[in-house]
Symmetry: C2
Subunit: 359 residues, 2 copies
Amino acid sequence: MTAKLKNDRLIRALLRQPVDATPVWIMRQAGRYLPEYRRVREQAGSFLNLCKTPELACEVTLQPLHRFDLDAAILFSDILTIPDAMGLGLEMIEKYGPRFNSPVRSRSDIEKLRIPDMHTDLGYVMDAVQTVKRELDNRVPLIGFAGSPWTVGTYMVEGGPSKEYGIIKGMLYGEPASLHDLLATVADATTDYLNAQIEAGVNAVQIFDTWGGILTPDAYREFSLNYMRRIVDGLKRDVDGERIPVILFSKGCAHLVEEIAAAGADAVGVDWTVDIGDIRRRIDGRTAVQGNLDPAVLYASPEVIKREVDAVLRAWGAAPGHVFNLGHGIHPQIDPDNVAILVDSVHELSGKYKVKSEK
Amino acid sequence: MTAKLKNDRLIRALLRQPVDATPVWIMRQAGRYLPEYRRVREQAGSFLNLCKTPELACEVTLQPLHRFDLDAAILFSDILTIPDAMGLGLEMIEKYGPRFNSPVRSRSDIEKLRIPDMHTDLGYVMDAVQTVKRELDNRVPLIGFAGSPWTVGTYMVEGGPSKEYGIIKGMLYGEPASLHDLLATVADATTDYLNAQIEAGVNAVQIFDTWGGILTPDAYREFSLNYMRRIVDGLKRDVDGERIPVILFSKGCAHLVEEIAAAGADAVGVDWTVDIGDIRRRIDGRTAVQGNLDPAVLYASPEVIKREVDAVLRAWGAAPGHVFNLGHGIHPQIDPDNVAILVDSVHELSGKYKVKSEK
């Protein structure tokens, strides 16, 4: 039996149960905008070393919770831990991003891929989860995560960030069977990976599909959504009587939100390019929704931040099932004081919309 | 009185008149994927020198028409000619993109901006239009173009390409009045610029809004669509009895396509992330539609290219008002032979859908 969460707003909202205030967390809340993060990152020597040292990963995971009244922690890690554990040789290059020394380019590269062992190859992630859970002492839920197979696949095939995704899309149009084999392998590894995180103690999981939005609708269904559904179908979502909610976030895919909402997850994330009120109407209670403030609002003054937070809350209205977040990760240049304004505004301002629903 | 076009399919389709075959042109059809372009580019010494030398700009404008049965030429130029003429000091940096030495950051920077003279400061563009028109001899229409004020503004304010657009979005949320002043000035300059191109002989114009898709719906309406509408309202669209059609292309904005179609243009461009049949139903004959093959299809085999061209044509169906194009610019790595397959497939395959409509 898991100990009870002291603050269970996030879990309740993800399950579309009533809450006293809208829960809020921030994608990349443990990250470069925090000076205390930059100090630990320097101490770790490299980004990957920070991910792979459970005590340090725990420390940066908890940093934003010391500053802000957040309703969740999210494990400090990276979406590329799986291909790294598959032996593709991940490096993180300053001002460039991730680079794989052995990208996957051919059918024989794909056939050679093996699903890593979650307790040896990726044991450092599970150790980090357990360390964070111990330190958190159930103050708020801990979110685990993974990349979507399509998004992780773009890095595995392109070898790094890409502008045009010519190599993986050449495979998509020219050798779709090979790409399906790759994505199936990554999906199965990701299912094991998230299940191991759940076993280690995370209270919810999110699948990040950062690059679903570069696909045609048909290709999105076939090469991205299908494999997220395959993962969702394989997750252990009830642990000792507690439901482990699953969030799917495909950036730039809100035009397909009805289909994403039908994939079996508890919640769907949306970016800031859509009106969250429209999304609520289109999803019509089938899942919770997470989002969707433009991350760039945090460059503005406290007054503007409050006004824009209010606009998102008002657009959502009184329905249950809203988790407040940015529409994408927080930018590294943001002043942490503005994050405090954001978090407190969500809690303060959401009350008035909830009261209305009970009148 | 302008001489009659020998191939007027593009103009007819943009005006939603019947055509014998669907017209096709390709964004960036004069560009780096062509070895003959790379030779002239080298000869010119720099990208900007190529833009500013009318004979060379004419030569590269016509290159793709020597190879492919395209239904239009598009002037070889750049969306940043206007801020360059405003004195912001444009450089094109290899593998980086455009850079302004004097980006626009403050209200006083904005107040100093002057609308350039179209016949002195930007006379090289009008000379290039006239040179191309003479060489083309009305074989196909010539498309003129400009960037949208919002898109041009992102480069003017950020000083170059940006990942997060933090500076201009900081202005959008924090000092919207200043940003409106900037966009109004750019919009007025762009209106003059496109009118000068029309006077010099272009047969249609396109406004490229590459970065409209990074905005919230409200911000898109206020800071991007409004200023494109202002331009459209100011264009001379009838020259000697000939209609000059206007195309608006906001990449990543198809979720707002009804509003874009109501902005007064003759046609709306859409990228590959949407089903063009859905777009046709949503626009419902109010404008023509241009698009929308995934540019990455051109990495595949001739068979796959034909299949994907057919899928776009079939999704559009028998209605008038479709101009075939990629959903964004052609990638530099593409084999020109695949472009020939694409262009010929559009002409060959579109017939069967048109015949159906007359049965």
